[in-house]
């Protein structure tokens, strides 16, 4: 089974990396870029448990390990069963 977790900054947290990339893109002429936010993606391979269990654990892992709830939000999905 394959899952993907995406972790990104909460909207109210400034993302200087994203900002820098936006500026770089502007200076390269891509003026139509209005905003860039950078986050992390985790591609996870799971084996030996049920999809149901996987859902439960993914939520737990994302919440407890992969994201820091003070500054980050996350989203996960199972992309291949």
């Amino acid at each position: 089974m394959k899952a993907r977790v995406i972790v990104s900054f909460k909207d109210e947290v400034l993302d200087p990396q994203g900002l820098t990339i936006k500026n770089a893109l502007h200076s390269l002429g891509y003026k139509f870029i209005k905003d860039v936010r950078q986050g992390k993606v985790f591609d996870i391979e799971i084996d030996g448990i049920s999809v149901e269990d996987a859902r439960k654990y993914l939520q737990e892992i994302a919440d407890k390990v992969l994201a820091n709830p003070v500054i980050e939000k996350f989203h996960w999905e199972i992309i291949e069963k």
Partner: protein, 736 residues
């Protein structure tokens, strides 16, 4: 064997015949791969060997000269210093961050393989001009790569040098020097001794990383195979930190007989070299090698250059103890073979012998070339200099020179490096040499890397001598005596006679100077083929020198200390303008003949500077290098804590620009309290050293006069900000 296969392995037909001779049969593909990497220029030094062997390599304190992973020199108190420099030029161009990062990882392993704890890194960098965004991207990536690896592993990057020249646009140079300290009686060598002893593999799993050009192991010549298998590895500083701690812990106990890191040519190089050095043999089973990817064949496993791996030979009855220590650090140590006495490298896979080669054959019987040499024709052209008209506003000229990236402040760079971890850095980056205390002793080590390739381009031999002289001078300025040299020789394609000539001249010049100063060359690295699209980089020797300070209370720094102190010049101002930053920056001219170097005189100046420091007679010392006297004086002001100024009056009868910006060698600017001037002058005349008071330290203003006429008069703030802001300004553009 198919011609194309030989070509892809970079082997000539003659070399192939040599291989068949050694084996007494045709090699299989894996064996051919092994020969090809071991006989490559990078591993075998086949073009450079005949010159390098003339370098002085011995000395009273040398414990280990060239030939091991790093040089070792006795520094007393039961300690030895272990140091070495390496290049990572090509990977840093393709992937600046990872290329530079893995360069740091590699040189660190060379040092801790010898049983030393790495205590400092110095980086010598060459980039193309910064107005080209591509060069900025490379520079930014390289510097964050060095920072990313060094900072994480906790070895301070304490110094370096950074030059900019068009010739490095397509071919940046990234040379990294590492210094370590080990107990003198516990140095480890790459030797597979003792029949029956287990051979252990430790560290990262083996992947298909950096398997060179010849990646058609599976024998089908898939065109885009290359493309799919990147030649750049990703570094894992965390794993290396664990390896470092675990190896040092193992070494503290009497558990192993030999150890070698897996760098270039990975498992092939480490197994065969270890066996060769111990006159033994080695037998390994590839099925036991930890692999990151599935379906790897013997060719790929033997040639992989995956990072953060070590090979060690344990004492037969200590195998378990070794494994336990690695386990503690979350690392697996796996026995993959045994030491034998057959003199052969035997590799098994799935029960079959896939490699059976006499170790000597790969390590020692590799071809050695005396390649044709020819003095290049460009020299006559560039050595001719029509001196351009003197700019009428020397103030503006001076500001422009101060903001040329080669001369400008490098804090933007070294602030990204943790240069304080391990709490030994007594003289921070910014000085002529960095100084590190040695805990538990009164001593300190000084280190510097140096090399002006514009000089070597204009005159390879003189340039090389200057590189040695300047590096030693940098040490003298902090109060250190040179212990030994390591060097990195960055050149173009050695198959071109002109390049080979440059190489020969540089090595001769370097050897002459080192012999003269009595400094052993204990190691180094040659990087050929630094060419892109047919044009080579300037011949670029980089010298890494380590020096010793016996009494740490006597170290000296370059910045002026007190208002009212006298400023003195050791040495003489000559009218020399060829090869200067001034000509390059102001007139885009890289020509003329480089400054002369008289080694005898140079040594007198250095010894005198050292004596003044030793007698505690001076308050600062800084050598005159790129940018000449004016830039040197400015740097002394910038490096004073209070941002002091100067008023200097010169009486020399030479052209003002040569006086201000000429790069005559063997000069040092010192400053001293008024009460010590007498003593200094007396001592100078006793020693026959040219030493003259040229001015005083003051506040605010930076004034230089010649025969009463003002050449430069600027506020300190103004010159400071030109120098300080130049490099950050280039990067603001993209950050704004």
């Amino acid at each position: 064997m198919d011609k194309r296969i030989l070509e892809q392995h970079n082997l000539t037909e003659e070399e192939y015949r040599g291989i068949v001779d050694i084996l007494g049969r045709e090699p299989n593909l894996t064996e051919l791969g092994i020969f090809s990497v071991m006989w490559s220029e990078h591993c075998s030094y086949k073009s450079s060997k005949i010159y390098l062997k003339n370098l002085p390599t011995t000395g009273k304190h040398v414990i280990q000269g060239p030939g091991e992973n790093a040089g070792v020199i006795d520094i007393g108190d039961g300690l030895a210093v272990v140091f070495k420099i390496e290049s990572h030029n090509h990977p840093s161009y393709i992937e600046p961050y990872q290329g530079a990062a893995t360069g740091v990882g590699g040189i660190l392993r060379d040092i801790f393989t010898m049983g030393a704890r790495p205590i400092a890194v110095l980086d010598s960098l060459r980039f193309g001009p910064l107005d080209n965004p591509k060069n900025r991207v490379i520079m930014e990536g390289v510097i964050s790569g060095i920072a990313g690896y060094g900072n994480s592993i906790g070895v301070p990057t304490v110094g370096g040098e950074t030059y900019f020249n068009q010739c490095y646009s397509q071919n940046p140079l990234v040379n990294v020097c590492c210094i370590g300290i080990a107990p003198k009686n516990r140095i480890f060598y790459a030797r597979a001794k003792g029949k029956g002893n287990p051979v252990l593999y430790v560290g990262a799993k083996t992947g298909r990383d950096g398997i060179h050009g010849a990646t058609m192991a599976s024998a089908e010549f898939d065109e885009d195979l290359e493309e799919k298998r990147p030649n750049v590895q990703v570094g894992d500083p965390f794993k290396e930190k664990l390896l470092l701690e675990a190896c040092l812990e193992v070494m503290k106990k009497d558990l192993i007989v030999g150890i070698q890191d897996m760098g270039a040519a990975g498992l092939t190089c480490s197994t065969s070299e270890m066996a060769d050095k111990a006159n033994s043999g080695i037998e390994i089973d590839l099925d036991l090698v930890p692999k990151r990817e599935e379906g790897m064949n013997s060719y790929e496993i033997m040639l992989s250059e995956s990072q953060e791996r070590m090979l060690l030979v344990a004492k037969a009855d200590k195998e378990e103890e070794v494994k336990k220590i690695f386990k503690k650090w979350d690392l697996d140590a796996i026995t993959i073979g045994r030491v034998t006495d057959t003199g052969r490298l035997i590799v098994k896979e799935k029960g079959r012998v896939v490699v059976d080669i006499p170790v000597r054959g790969i390590v020692r019987d590799c071809p050695v070339y005396r390649r044709p040499v020819k003095q290049p024709s460009y020299l006559r052209e560039v050595n001719y200099l029509e001196i351009p008209e003197v700019p009428n506003d020397l103030n503006t000229t001076f500001l422009k020179l101060l903001s040329s990236p080669t001369i400008a402040d490098k804090e933007w760079i070294f602030r990204q490096y943790d240069h304080m971890v391990q709490i030994n850095t007594v003289l921070l980056p910014g000085a002529d040499a960095t100084v590190l205390r040695i805990k538990g002793t009164k001593k300190a080590l000084a280190g510097t890397v140096d090399g002006n390739s514009l000089y070597t381009y204009l005159n390879p031999k003189v340039g090389a001598k200057i590189a040695v002289a300047e590096a030693c001078r940098n040490l003298a300025c902090v109060g250190a005596k040179p212990l030994g040299v390591t060097n990195c020789l960055n050149f173009g394609n050695p198959e071109k006679p002109e390049i080979m000539w440059q190489f020969k001249e540089v090595v001769e010049g370097m050897g002459e100077a080192c012999r003269f100063f009595g400094i052993p060359v204990t190691g180094g690295n040659v990087s050929f083929y630094n060419e892109t699209m047919g044009s080579a980089v300037y011949p670029t020797p980089v010298l890494g020198i380590v020096g010793l300070i016996e009494d740490i209370s006597k170290i000296m720094s370059p910045g002026f200390k007190e208002k009212g102190d006298y400023i003195l010049l050791l040495g003489k101002n000559n009218e020399e303008i060829g090869g200067t930053e001034y000509l390059k920056t102001i007139f885009s001219q890289e020509r003329g003949i480089p400054p002369e170097i008289n080694l005898e005189f140079e040594k007198q100046i250095q010894d005198f500077c050292f004596e003044l420091i030793d007698k505690r007679l001076i308050n600062s010392a800084h050598d005159v290098s790129e940018g000449g006297l004016a830039v040197c004086l400015a740097e002394c002001c910038f490096m004073s804590e209070k941002k002091l100024g100067i008023e200097v009056s010169l009486e020399d009868d030479i052209r003002p620009v040569a006086l201000l910006f000429g790069e005559t060698q063997s000069r040092i600017i010192i400053s001293a309290s008024p009460s010590d001037i007498d003593k200094i002058e007396k001592l100078a005349s006793k020693r026959g050293i040219p030493c003259q008071v040229i001015g005083r330290v003051r506040e605010d203003k930076f004034i230089i006069k010649q025969k009463g006429e003002e050449l430069i008069n600027l506020s300190i703030e103004k010159i400071y900000s030109s120098w300080k802001q130049a490099i950050p300004n280039y990067f603001k553009l993209s950050e704004e």
